[in-house]
Chain length 360, copies 2
């Protein structure tokens, strides 16, 4: 087997030990005589997988009891709809910050369900920074403030969370959940698509303060009702059983690695290697402004499209793949989530060095 | 490895060869150096998996070009919402038949979006048969007639499709898709959760006549828009990549086995073995009326709860598992989808015989 370093923004790398465990148990899960993919979700063995998965996520993030944990289908995009359908009353209003493509999509979708105020935006600067949010910028009576903690495409993150003056903070944490430490109690709701830092695509995790549930919009699709999902332990209908199982293996891996604090330490080290390289280079230019740099998605550009193409081709030949930046930023994006080993980042830095030397 | 015979109604058995292939390729898919679970959906290798999967399904079912094939998240339950949101105009009406629990749920959900007429029901007979539908029973101007081709819980199926006099027929085919031959051209829309006859849970396949799309309800969650999903080849957001891949392996297996016609022949043989046993027994009573018997879910009862418990315990000891009937029918349910080998059904019949002899 020859594994490569996959810098994809998502779906993205999974820990090799997790994949090996999954492969080993795929046909016959721990002597049950069946695959996890074949298990009725209404059997003790699967119920045990589900409850251990939730338990491991609670351990990883220190999720208090007053928060429900939901495993839902549809990824983060479905949550763009579900959040207002659950938290925004008919005729109500909510505040959104616009810090990238996904936060814009979240706001557009929410506009179907009420008054949405964009209280701050970095669009005019092509999302190279994160606006500073203070309570006086927010709408009195807003049901929540929505932020995207890490912007996958632009490689930016909040250096500190906005102060909301009591308005519940709702966060799309798809691209840095489990990658750095957050205090769940700072949020009313956290959601995250699974396919960046948690497992295969096909699921979103929702962590929601229980008192915010119970106001689901009449006439909306039943499967988006947080209270119903909480009351049914995420099994109102058949859940994405395999995806949940895989996420559970990843959560256990994070715990075994020392938890999220340790992951953050490693991630800061990995990102530091790349940013140091960029900052000491005359060839590479960081795309994000320094105070807002993400430790998950490192974005930079080269002086020309031709050099960028050459850089990507050379990287591919060395087993460093999916480094092409999103078309709205151009250049290079290295997504270095938890499962990207330090060795992968070191290999990339080493390649960047030799590429720069060859193009002096 | 000791595989067992799993008669679960869903999630349910998958072909062993499919599981073995998936296990073999799990860590490193065909020399790409990564798992299918780690692949960006925007890469040629994954786009190839997706397009081959669609192509194989089209081959299996003979799906003509004028039908779009969509891979969506949320299972059949999400389609209970999506179907009216796409096909039922504001203020419009649709007809539903009530032939079991899921058809009732589909109708309840649709009532959020328009006038829903239950044109026929077998509820008064605890769903032991399927009402005969004729065009004069339908509502003039109805947007569609919704049926459930196979009722998983009650073990019934339509001996022939309803005549609708031109009203588009919409079918929830979750529990017998690929298990028996249908002519797609008889339907306006077919949908099916993946976890019975197609793959792991976490996805629904939607096969929709293209002229029926394009009328998505304003203000509904964006991910449920059929036209949008068709325009984006099911990749408006990150699709459930692994689930699609697994479904593709199952489609290829069906084709290798000789296609759906051959699967139906085998399924009729398997069901026949069980129904013959039931009909020649004084201990077992078939739950469904004969003309409506399903070849996917065989339901029967024993004279007492005590005998039922004893039957289930003995079966479990012989590696025949998940045979307990749904609480609304009681007794026994043997789900014998495509992946249940004839040997599994023969083992069950043999056990039924010896159990009957021991209780004469």
């Amino acid at each position: 087997m020859s594994r490569i370093y996959n810098f994809s923004a998502g779906p993205s790398m999974l820990p090799v030990s997790v994949l090996e465990q999954a492969a080993k148990d795929l046909v016959d899960y721990q002597g049950t005589g069946m695959s996890v993919m074949e298990m009725s979700h209404r059997t003790p063995v699967y119920e045990d997988i589900l409850s251990r998965t939730e338990c491991s996520l609670r351990s990883c993030m220190g999720i208090p009891d007053q928060y429900a944990v939901l495993f839902m289908q549809g990824g983060a995009t479905m949550q763009f709809s579900a959040v207002p359908l659950n938290l925004l009353p008919e005729g109500g209003c909510a505040d959104y910050t616009q810090t990238g493509q996904f936060s814009s999509k979240a706001a557009s979708e929410a506009k179907k369900y009420g008054t949405i105020n964009i209280v701050a935006s970095s669009k005019a600067d092509n999302y190279t920074h994160i606006p500073h949010i203070t309570p006086d910028m927010l709408t009195p009576g807003a049901s929540y403030l929505h932020i995207t903690t890490n912007n996958t495409i632009f490689g930016t993150t909040y250096p500190r969370l906005p102060e909301t003056g009591g308005i519940p903070l709702v966060a799309d944490m798809s691209s840095n959940i489990l990658g750095q430490v957050y205090d769940v109690k700072d949020f009313g709701l956290i959601y995250a698509g699974a396919q960046k830092n948690m497992g295969p695509a096909g699921m979103a995790v929702v962590i929601v303060r229980r008192d915010l549930m119970g106001h689901f919009r009449a006439g909306a699709p039943v499967l988006l009702d947080y209270q119903l999902m909480a009351d049914n332990d995420s099994m109102y209908n058949t859940p994405p059983c395999w995806t949940i199982y895989m996420a559970g293996l990843v959560y256990d891996w994070v715990l075994k690695m020392g938890g999220v604090a340790e992951m953050e330490k490693i991630n800061r080290h990995k990102a530091g290697l790349l940013y140091d390289m960029i900052d000491n280079s005359t060839l590479y230019t960081g795309a994000a402004q320094r105070p807002y740099r993400s430790i998950m998605n490192v974005t930079f550009t080269l002086p020309s499209d031709e050099l960028t193409r050459e850089f990507l081709q050379g990287a591919q030949q060395q087993g460093l793949v999916n480094l092409k930046g999103h078309r709205s930023v151009g250049g290079i994006r290295a997504s270095i989530y938890n499962a990207m080993p330090v060795e992968g980042v070191e290999a990339l830095v080493s390649y960047m060095k030799s590429f720069e030397l060859a193009h002096k």
